[in-house]
Amino acid sequence: MDDLELLKKDWNKDSDKFTTYSEQEIYKMIQQNSTSAARLLLLIGLTEMLIWTVYGYFYHRFPVERTVLFLVFFVLVIYLYQRMKAESSSIVLMKTILNLRYAILGYAGISLLLIIVDNILHFNEYTRDFMAGVHDGGSGNPYRTTHPDTFVPEFGNYAVFGIVLFAVLCLLYLIYKKTYGKVLANLRKNYKELSKAE
């Protein structure tokens, strides 16, 4: 007999190895919360959006734009999550989850872009702030004792500040890889395999 036919025979025979759950056990199961990757993605995503927004308010950067942006993306993310149906075809479900991620990534991307643009526009001012911070830290002064305007940045100072800024961006990238990367790596792989036309 062909190997696969043998397997098919075994597959379709009634096996008593499986646990049969009682009515009460099933009722108990359906009361539990889902631990699905999509739900986890939603929770991480909303937390991330909230952190970006709090950051914006804390530093008084673009509060109005950020509120509008947060509300638009919040509605979009919840809408995409609600649209996700486990009974859709596999490829549609995968695409919906990936779209959910793109929406969250879009928000983070815009937030990051605003920060980068802000840093470029105020590079001189922030370098002075950075130098004042380093000076206070090194001298053991209380926070914001030294006025930033007492410093005149030179090329080396700009370079150090630029490197620190770059390191922060790298750190953000690593955090993203650790959080979303793990949740989405498998999904991306499966979507690629399934959507590949033969």
Partner: protein
């Protein structure tokens, strides 16, 4: 107190548990993960149940949700490295002695299935369930022709893996 909808769901669900166990068997390799996946599938089925219109058979609808949960929604646990001391050599010896047995061959095939990709596992499972290419295409969201080609590739890949496990 259980609602009427819960009761209808449980009545539909109970006789079809075996189907979910079969999917869990393919997508997990230990009892703990099997139970976790079973529970997640049950939750997803319950969440999706209000959308079940009764146009398809419950088992067909259930199959689709269960498979989607296994492939896409279930958060796979991190693989633990198996230490040499944890390998049960007595089991391996018994398997070697029963080399020609059908049962041994079947075990080997299940081991090989576990090495396939998630999509190939789904394809092989649908082959074992005697699903038509049209149904497979509908469940996965691909064309019938594409399903046929992917199925042939999955079967060939499985045969190769059987020879190497």
């Amino acid at each position: 107190m259980n609602s009427d909808l819960e009761k209808i769901f449980v009545d539909f669900f109970r006789p079809n548990q075996r189907l979910i166990h079969k999917i869990c068997r393919i997508y997990t390799d230990n009892t703990e993960d099997h139970q976790d996946l079973f529970q997640e599938i049950t939750i997803q089925l319950w969440k999706s149940f209000p959308g079940f219109k009764g146009e398809a058979k419950f088992s067909t609808w259930m199959y689709r949700v269960a498979l989607n949960t296994a492939i896409t929604l279930f958060k796979k646990p991190q693989k633990k490295e198996l230490k040499q001391s944890e390998v049960d050599f007595s089991t391996l010896k018994i398997e070697y002695e029963d080399y020609e047995d059908d049962e041994y061959k079947i075990k080997k095939m299940y081991l090989a299935i576990h090495q396939l990709s998630d999509i190939e596992k789904a394809l092989i499972m649908m082959y074992l369930e005697d699903k038509s290419y049209r149904e497979i295409g509908e469940i996965l969201g691909i064309t019938e022709g594409n399903a046929r080609v992917k199925m042939n590739r999955a079967k060939n890949n499985l045969k190769q893996k059987i020879n190497t496990v």
